[in-house]
Symmetry: C2
Subunit: 444 residues, 2 copies
C-alpha cells in the first residue's frame, strides 16, 4: 500500500487477536502476531472436550468480512432455542427467534481459532510467533518485550502500533492501568464454573436434542450444555463457589453422583465420567472487566476481552470482540493516515455498548438460572412471540442482541421504549374494553 | 503480652499507617513500619505550603484513643462553616453545625504526620525504616521486599501480618489485585487539582475570615482555601483538565492573572505568587479506589486509602482512615487469638460504609462547585437549620458525616428517611391549613 508499510504488533493470537490480524493484514499493514501459548496448528483437536461458544449475527458479520463465515458455520451446530430441563427430568423448548432463520451456532473455540490461524498462514503480511509471553510494554515508543516459554530468550519488538488483544488478563492493559487517569474495574461473581461432558451415544448420535442450548435452571445455580458437531455436549455448571449448592459442598464421588441424580436427573445418566471430570476439571472464576480509555495516543490500542471482558451468560463475549475487529477496520478506513482519530472514533463507537453488554451479561445469568424455569417467564416469552407476530416493528431484546448489529446500549433503549408502548397499548385496549362493555350494558 | 509476640509489618508511615502502628504497638504487638519517603523528623516544616486536611469527629475519636487529639487540635484552625465568595467579591457564611461546638479543623498533613511519628518514636515495640520502597509482596508467607532509595539495598521482611497502609497506589493491594476473585476499581474524575497559596498579611494576620473553609463556587469549576495556623491559606483549584474553564486553557502568566481577576476576584489580590505557583505546582488527578476483599487469609490486610481512596470533597478521607485504625483495634480485641475472624469482622463493618463515602465524596463535589452558590441551596440550608432547631431528632447528612460516628451508609439511610418524614409532615401541615381555612370560610 504505502511506501513505508505501517507495522502492527498484535499481542495475543486468540479469537480476537487472530481475526484483527487478518483484517489488518488485508488492509495492507504488516502484522507481527505474538502468542503466549504453543502453536495449535498440526496438533489434533480433541473433539468432545473443546470449550464451545455461541456464534451469532455480530460475530458472523465479522467473519463474513474476511470470507470465513461459511467454513465456521459448517463446523458448528445451530441452536434454535433453549431446552429447559426441570428437576423431574421433563423438558420444554423456548425458541430464540421468531422463525427458524434466527438461530445461534455452537462453535468449538479451538476449532475456530485454528480456522483463523490457518487463514493467517496464507497472508503475506503476517508473521506468527508462539510460546511468547508478554512481560513488558513501553507505551511511548511503543514496544513490547516477550519471553519464550521454552528457551527463556527475550525479544523486544518495536512496531508502529501495539494492539492488545491478550484477553481478560491483558498484559498490555496492565501496563496502561498504572498510567495516570486510566479508569479500570474488575469484578468477580460469587459464582464459579466447571466444565463437564456428555459423550455421544453408542451409535455416535446426540444423547439430547441436537439443535438446542440445554439449561437445567435451579434458581441460585444451574448447568448448561452446548452440542458439539461430533455428538457430544460440553456442559458447564455455574454454581456458587461456597455455601448452599456451592462447589465446596461436594467433596466425595458419592456426593457428586447423588447431587447430580437429585438435581440434574436427565443429564446425570448421560455422564459416565462425571465424578472424574468433576474433580479433575478446575473451578474457574467469572470476571467482568471495564476500562477507559482503550487507547494511548495513536500507538497502543485494546480490543476484545482486553478492553471489555464480560461474563458468558448472553453468549456475546466473542461476538462483541469480533464486532470490534469489524468496527476497527471501518474506523481505520474512515481516517486514513490519522490513527489517533481512528482510535478515538473506535473507542467512542464501542465503549458505551461494551458497558451495556457487561450489564446485560450479568442480568442474563439471573434470567437463565432463576427466571427461565418459572411459569411467569414462560408465559411472558410466549406473549412476546405473539406480540412479535402481531406487531412487525416489535423486536425482543434477545433478538436485537443476537440477531442484529444494533449497538447493545441502543438495543436496551429500544427495548425499554417498546415495553412502554406495549404497556400503554394494553392499558388503552383494557379501557376501551371496559367502555365498550359499559356501553353494551347501558343499551340493554 | 504473649510468649511469642505477634509481629506486624506496616507498609506506609503516612497518616493511616502511623496511627495504626501506634494502636498495634499499644496492644502489645511488635511493629515494623516501612516508609518509602525520607524521615520527616528533624527537618523543618515549611509552614505556609503544607497541604491541609479537615479533621472531624471520626478522626478525632481515633486520635483520642491514643491521647493525641488535644495536641493535634492545638496546631489546627477550627472552621465553623463555609464562606462563599461570589464572582462580584461578595461573601456569605453558611455554618456547618447547629451551634459553635460543631466545627471541623484545618490541620496540616505534614504536621500531623510528624506528631504521629514522634509518638511512635517513644513506643518500645516499634521500629521505623525510611527510604524503603516496597517492590514485592508474598501473600502466602507473608513477606514483603523493600529497596532502599539511596543504597538500592534490598531487604526482605517476614512478619506474621502485612498491613498495607500504603495509600491510593498501594503496592500491597497491587499484589492482591492479581489474585483470583479480587474485585478492584479505580475511577478518575475529569477534574484535576492544583495547590496555590495566600500568604499571611504584612502584620502576620489572616487575609480572609480565619475560622472558615472558603469556597469560590463557579458551577463547573471552583477554588477552595483552608486556613493554616501561621496565617496563610492553602488554596486548591478543582477545574476540568481540559476544555471550558480547564487547566489547559491558561498557558501564559497574563492568562492566569486575568482569569483569576475575572473569576476569583477576592482571592487574586491576595496571591502575589499566583503565576509562579500556577506553573510550578503540578496538576494532580482525583481518583476513587474500591476493592474487595480487604484481606487475604489472616496474613495480609489493607486499611485507609489502600483499601478505599476517595476524592477529597467531603473532607473524610483521613477521618475514614483513622476510624479504620480504631475499628481494627476493636476487632482485634473482640477476637483475641483469631486474626481471621478479626479481619473478616473489620471488613464487614467498614466496607459498605467506605463504598457509601466514595459516593458521598463525588456527590459533594457537585454540591460544592455548583449548588452551594445558588439561592435555592442557601434557602434549603437555612430551612434545614430551622428544622434542626424545631425537631431535636433531625440531623443533617453533613452533621451525621462530620459530627458523629454513625456509619456513612447508615447516615445516608437516616437522611433519606428524615427527608421523607419532613416531606410528609409538610404535606400534612399544608392539608391541615387548607382544611382549617375551608372550615373558617364555611363558618363565616
Amino acid at each position: 500500500m504505502s511506501q513505508s508499510q505501517e507495522s502492527w504488533l498484535v499481542v495475543g493470537a486468540g479469537l480476537a487477536g487472530a481475526l484483527a490480524a487478518i483484517y489488518l493484514a488485508r488492509s495492507g499493514r504488516k502484522v507481527l502476531l505474538y502468542e503466549k501459548r504453543s502453536d495449535p496448528r498440526g496438533t489434533t483437536m480433541e473433539g468432545g472436550r473443546s470449550i464451545n461458544l455461541a456464534l451469532s449475527t455480530r460475530g458472523l458479520a465479522a467473519l463474513e468480512g474476511v470470507g470465513l463465515a461459511e467454513k465456521t458455520l459448517e463446523a458448528g451446530v445451530p441452536m434454535q432455542g433453549r431446552m429447559i430441563h426441570d428437576e423431574q427430568g421433563d423438558t420444554s423448548f423456548q425458541p430464540y427467534g421468531k422463525d427458524e432463520s434466527q438461530v445461534i451456532h455452537s462453535i468449538s473455540r479451538g476449532g475456530l481459532n485454528l480456522t483463523l490461524l490457518e487463514a493467517l498462514s496464507t497472508e503475506p503480511n503476517v508473521e506468527l510467533f508462539f510460546d511468547q509471553r508478554c512481560i513488558n510494554v513501553d507505551l511511548e515508543e511503543p514496544a513490547a518485550e516477550f519471553e519464550h516459554a521454552k528457551t527463556s530468550e527475550r525479544t523486544r519488538v518495536s512496531p508502529d502500533v501495539v494492539l492488545g488483544a491478550d484477553g481478560a488478563f491483558s498484559a498490555v492493559r496492565a501496563r496502561m492501568q498504572i498510567e495516570d487517569r486510566f479508569s479500570y474495574r474488575q469484578e468477580y461473581l460469587e459464582y464459579g464454573y466447571k466444565e463437564l461432558n456428555i459423550p455421544p451415544t453408542e451409535d455416535g448420535g446426540f444423547a439430547l436434542e441436537k439443535n438446542a442450548l440445554h439449561i437445567w435452571p435451579r434458581r441460585n445455580y444451574m448447568m448448561i450444555a452446548l452440542p458439539n458437531a461430533g455428538g457430544s455436549y460440553t456442559c458447564t455448571c455455574f454454581w456458587p463457589f461456597a455455601g448452599r449448592h456451592g462447589f465446596d459442598q461436594l467433596t466425595t464421588s458419592a456426593d457428586v453422583r447423588s447431587f447430580f441424580k437429585a438435581h440434574f436427573y436427565s443429564a446425570a445418566a448421560l455422564m459416565p465420567d462425571l465424578e472424574q471430570d468433576f474433580f479433575n476439571n478446575p473451578t474457574s472464576s467469572l470476571v467482568t472487566i471495564r476500562c477507559a480509555p482503550w487507547y494511548k495516543s495513536d500507538k497502543v490500542l485494546l480490543l476484545g476481552d482486553a478492553a471489555h471482558a464480560v461474563v458468558p451468560f448472553y453468549g456475546q463475549g466473542m461476538n462483541a470482540a469480533f464486532e470490534d475487529c469489524l468496527d476497527l477496520d471501518q474506523c481505520l478506513r474512515l481516517h486514513p493516515g490519522d490513527r489517533l482519530s481512528a482510535f478515538a472514533e473506535f473507542y467512542r463507537r464501542r465503549k458505551r455498548h461494551a458497558d451495556a453488554l457487561a450489564r446485560l451479561a450479568v442480568d442474563n445469568f439471573i434470567e437463565m438460572r432463576d427466571h427461565v424455569g418459572s411459569p411467569t417467564f414462560v408465559w411472558k416469552k410466549r406473549l412476546e412471540i405473539v406480540v412479535q407476530k402481531l406487531l412487525p416493528w416489535y423486536r425482543s431484546l434477545y433478538s436485537m442482541v443476537s440477531f442484529s448489529r444494533i449497538g447493545y446500549a441502543d438495543a436496551i433503549a429500544i427495548h425499554e421504549r417498546q415495553k412502554r408502548t406495549v404497556k400503554r397499548t394494553l392499558w388503552a385496549l383494557g379501557i376501551a374494553a371496559i367502555a365498550f362493555t359499559v356501553w353494551r350494558i347501558s343499551r340493554q
